[in-house]
Amino acid sequence: MRFGTRIRSWLRVVVHRLRAEREMDAELRFHIQAFAEDLMRGGLSREEAQRRARIEFGGIERAKEECRDARGVNFVEALRQDLRFAFRMLRKSPGFTTVGVLTLALGIGANTAIFSLIDQAVLRWLPIKIPEQLFELNADFLIPEYEKLAAHTQSFSEMFASDKGPMIAGIDGLPENIWGRFVSGTYYSVTGIHAIVGRVITPQDDHSASSLVCVLSQNYWKRRFGNSAQVLGRTITLKRIPFVIVGVAPEFDTGEAADVIIPMATHLQLAMKDNDTVRMIGRLKPEVSEKQASVELTLVYRQILAENAGSKLTPADQQRIQEKTVQLIPAGHGGLQRFSMELRIATAVVAIILLIACINVGNLLLARGTTRQREIAVRLAIGAGRWRIVRQLLTESLLLAVLGGCFGLLLAWCGGQLLSRLISEDATSVTPDVRVLGFTGAVSLLTGIGFGLLPAMRATRTNLTPSLKASGSGSGGSLFGAAGSRSGLVKGLVISQIGLCLTLLIGAGLLLQSLEKLSKTDVGFEREKVLLMWVLPTMVGYDISQENSLDWQLLSGLNALPGVRSASLSRLQLFSGYWGRSVSVPVRASGRAEDVRVSCNTIAPKFFATMGIPLLSGRDFTVADSATAPKVAIISESMAQHYFQGENPVGRHFRFTGEDGTDVEIVGVVKDILTEFREEQNHRSPRAAYIPFTQAPATMTGQAVVEVRATANPGVIAAAMPEVARRLDKDLPVGAVTTQNEIVDQSLGGPRALTQLTALLGLLALLLASIGIYGTMSHAVVQRRKEIGIRMALGAERQNVLRLVLREGLLLTLGGISGGLALGAALTRLISSQLYGLSATDPLTFVTVSLLLAGVAFLASYIPARSAMRVDPMVALRYE
């Protein structure tokens, strides 16, 4: 209670400052008045009584000050004064303020942007029921596997399955591209998400016999139906099957958010044909540890797989099953489960930038401390406490940091677009909410104290007499003669700034070279002049034979277009970074059966000619390789080498496991191609098998990308391609026409964004470092103007003076560079996984970047050195 009273009394005084002051004044005046009246009653004259009363009372102002102190108000009052003074000081030196605020804005802004990304993607709990108990299992499960697992596991109290995919929805007879999400009936009860309108999907809805219902996501409801409550009871057609809208509910998982949510029971009918697996998420029982659950689920999962295989279980299958494990991934956070490597590197980079910014501003403050020495000495001499002055100086730094933070927030808001590309293509902009603001505020305050405390302590540790006596500086052996320890600190800061800057530049240099090498990599096919277009017949309900005949018609239509050299199609787009599910191949050719995973694509005839992939031996697929003809395949060079060392594989056989198990005859061998840059980076060999699309297993049908090699007029052909499709079926969903080049280029998006970010920040660090060197050197030259003047008056050559200053700058630079090289060698190892075609300690990069930095540093100290050389001895000596 006492504490409460204290706070209240304090608040009252702080808030009603004026009234409190008036009351205090009135009370003291009343006292003096009453006292004077008593004295008058004792026989004194009015004037005399007033005078005596005032004298006996003592200093009114002092009494007031003591009263304010007694109420703890003085702190606030002092803060107000400090702030006002700090504002004045900053306004008085606009150059310093601008550089300081911008430098800090850069450091704080970069950190804010990265934080808000990480916060959105990684840190924040989803607003669902007890999110920390939710875990996803790290495998893709078939729906029956999910059902058995959910029924048998003892570790989870409840589970749901979920799967998201693109769909075509018919609304009022018009087709529309949407994201659909299949969820098991338990989804809404496990997550505790409630409907805003109507109801959610229940376990009853998830039985195939029940009527077909769907729930709209809140965003889609708003976007498409304008929040209309009339939406309930309307139907949405998916693959020509009508679904009744029964409710609207929010979707939270950013990576998985869909537009329309439908029961899992319809998965078999509606999902893409290559997609028969689901994600599985469950609520871990509180008493079970993640490790226990993982062990238990692994056992149950292996058991289920063994049961499914039944009597057909071969030793190889058994081996495969024994290798399966189930692990738990926390699922209570946003879409991005792991802290991706790119984000980690970006975090390190922005942290270094903030450090450099702090050092820079700290250095500026130290320099100012030297010039403000007299002011501070005077204030100390007339009785200000050291702590009071430190507080004043800290207030200035904090104000600077807060201003920097405000601009930083603005910067983060604008620059967030570039950063968000690090995690995904759909740009999530930086939204300044409470958490982000809190982070920025905290970083600003810490920064302010970080760069401000040391200079403030230094500035107030003044030996009063010399600073008051002489405003010039002493002399010493080096250019930084002034106060020995202070100049040591300045040097140390400049050196560490150069070192950190070099580290960043080395990182940027490595990433730049890696990107350059990546983009020039031979991908194994000709990426120029190939037009691509997705066709998605499964979305409008084509069965396999309908789809096959459609594909043939499409190919002949496209081949007939003028300017088309050849047209083909494949199930997977080359270089999309996604090769579908590769299949395991036990190879019997060499007498041993081996389980491997190879990339597998289904293609039409002339695919290799269209993509410019050389056929090394054997033949291409033809129309004769139909569904009923003998099964054939074309394999890649490295697959041939690995399994048929030296022998001609054409005419040999292998088998796809998991399918119907018939033998496949190899009819040709083609050159290797890259499926994505990462494959090359990870030194994975591009073993691949191609099969005719007519012989594809059901899971690899339903959609295809057509490839067209143009000899001329790619623009005209691109316009004609959708027309060809529409002529065959006006409802056939087709994607936008792109080029193979764009696809290859896009896959560099992540590395490119990271490289751009690092390079940009590296250049800014270089700028900051050169400002640091320049500032320090020019300050030193100004400080020692007099000494330089004397030296020159005594006959020193201008060249000698120039050399003196340059030598100082060079020593600092060399110190910084050697530190930076050591730090760089230690840190770049951490990014080696992101580097392609060069080692993390690539000597060329280290040397080139060091030279660049040395050059810039030389320039930055040359300018002050020149001005030192031009010092006119007479002017310098008369200067003070």
Partner: protein
């Protein structure tokens, strides 16, 4: 004994609490009452009285309100709170104990030691 004594360190707060425990007083009144009770034997500097009521109010022992003075002027009156009453009691006890102990020490003779 007519000479005025300076106040012992730390006793002013207790005296103010005692003074206002006898009835609401304004600042000047507190001064007068202490002088009156002590029969002018205690000397309190006029101006140095003031931080004390502010401190006591800040700590919640007393509260203040504006009212009319004897000669119809507006004055700020201090009154003891419940917490203040308790505080005064413990302070008075402490003081008496302390005074006893000190007196006993000062009265001790060589034989007792």
């Amino acid at each position: 004994m007519d000479k005025q004594m300076e106040l012992l360190q730390g006793t002013l707060d207790m005296l103010i609490l005692k003074a206002v425990s006898l009835g609401p007083l304004h600042g000047y009144g507190v001064l007068l009452r202490i002088q009156q009770i002590s029969k002018d034997r205690l000397e309190i500097q006029q101006g140095s009285l003031y931080p004390a009521p502010y401190r006591l109010e800040h700590q919640g022992w007393i509260t203040s309100a504006w009212g009319e003075s004897e000669n119809n002027r507006k004055a700020k009156y201090y009154r003891l709170t419940a917490a203040g009453t308790r505080k005064l009691q413990t302070e008075a006890e402490r003081w008496n104990r302390m005074a006893d102990v000190i007196a006993a020490i000062l009265q001790s003779t060589a034989e007792e030691v």
